[in-house]
Symmetry: C2
Subunit: 249 residues, 2 copies
DNA sequence: TTTCAACTCCTTACGGCATAAGCTATTGTC
DNA sequence: GACAATAGCTTATGCCGTAAGGAGTTGAAA
């Protein structure tokens, strides 16, 4: 249920990602009625509406007035399609960043967070082996430009963990709400009613959990995100200061 | 491709989770040859081996010498089966924690991290609406016992983000390695060779990314995890100290 | 102008999935 | 011994990705 990146024919995928189509002599055969970009936009629209589960070749084809098989002329497999969608959805993500590194990183993180929330299916594409497309690469490059030269790798990983984790919680909560037709509130009261009758000794066995009042996950996740970000940047600032004045050690 | 928790008939699911089966008079009909626990263990074994993608009712049935349909006597749908698996896999996770809150939280986080790595499919079960089973509840309760009474909710969320994010990266990297038969190393060199021929101006367009040498994701993710954890706990310690001596404000 | 290769897009088909419907065989209660 | 309840089976439905191969379209070579 997670889609792994970059497992198809690497050359074909990379060529598609970077659009290195050497336009030689005019090609024979019927003019293509579609373009890779049109397919990507249709596919992204489908995924935005119905999630990665609802993304089928048939659904994408239908949105373009074609059959599923027509897409295979443009894209080798569904896996590569998802890779291309992933990179495409990262286009124009990062705004111009201010010169102070701390403000820059914060703005970067918020921009990425926002994009993930606009396309929640991005969170289901594995991060382990990067897709290596131009747009995702740009996002990383802009962060590296902003970061101070300290603990770069760990900072990058931790930042992505925080951004993705928070976005995931928020996206899933929203999705569950629309998907089931019950709000977090309704869901919670229904459950706690059932729980108290099914597990009458709950409050004794789990006193602290029972004391934790219900919460809007959306809001809590946002707070955890900004809070964690602040902590991380504080730590980074500490380290850079120590770097600048070594005698403080 | 993500499984959402708690969307089936809540009463039936909760009863299964908490095993509140009131054993009344002996039941008619053939003796059940299976138990819910046997099914859970078979299903978890399948998921450990082949991931949540490889988890099909047929596969679980086959492992028990039954057909897929036989399982539906014990478990309403596949979704509830995953909920039950999720809680089951949290059993006995948290060891006895030391009295100092900082050590306790660190040990807790490492234990959860380890469990996620043992059952990577856990990371694909949505965290948005908790499954509310006894074992997961115990994990949360133990953390709440350890935490100081400061920014509880934000700390809990941030901790889970870090633990899950890091575990996810590591698990996906391992999975990609075994799934494709190419190590991170091999994959990377193959890609960078292709990239330099397909995108010859890469180093000029992305100087900082190009300067970042390849890395073992496994190790980097571990460092990011412990690093982020340290930062978070530092921040928490700051806040508790401020709480204890208010004049320091 | 004819021929042909290259090309797009289609229909059909296969094996896999979750699970609904309905059957058979087994067991306890009357 | 009759009957109700239950376990586990077979079959069928409608999804999925995509392999195979055919039909129609176009540009270049003859």
């Amino acid at each position: 249920m997670v889609v792994y990146a970059g497992q198809g024919d690497p050359e074909r995928t990379l060529a598609l990602l970077w659009r290195t189509t050497s336009d030689g002599p005019p090609r024979r055969g019927p003019k293509p009625a579609l373009t890779v970009d049109a397919i990507l936009e249709a596919a992204i629209a489908v995924a935005d509406e119905s999630g990665l589960d609802g993304l089928s070749m048939r659904a994408v084809g239908e949105r373009l007035g074609r059959t599923a098989m027509a897409l295979y002329t443009y894209v080798p497999t569904k896996r590569e399609l998802v890779d291309l969608m992933y990179d495409h959805a990262h286009a124009g993500l990062v705004p111009d960043l201010p010169s102070g590194w701390r403000d820059a990183v914060e703005i970067w993180a918020l921009a990425v967070h926002e994009r993930y929330l606009r396309h929640p299916w991005l969170l289901q594409v594995s991060h382990a082996r990067p897709v290596l497309g131009p747009h995702e690469q740009t996002v990383l490059e802009k962060l590296l430009e902003a970061l101070p030269d300290v603990a770069v790798r760990a900072t990058v990983s931790a930042l992505f963990s925080l951004v993705r984790g928070s976005a995931r919680t928020i996206a899933e909560s929203r999705d569950a709400a629309t998907g089931t037709g019950t709000s977090d509130q309704e869901w919670w009261t229904a459950r706690s009613g059932l729980m108290s009758s099914l597990v009458p000794d709950f409050a004794e066995r789990f006193p602290r959990s029972a004391n934790l009042p219900p919460v809007e996950w959306d809001k809590a996740a946002h707070e955890a995100f900004t809070g964690g970000l602040t902590l991380l940047l504080d730590g980074l600032e500490n380290q850079t200061r120590r770097r600048m004045s070594p005698k403080a050690r």
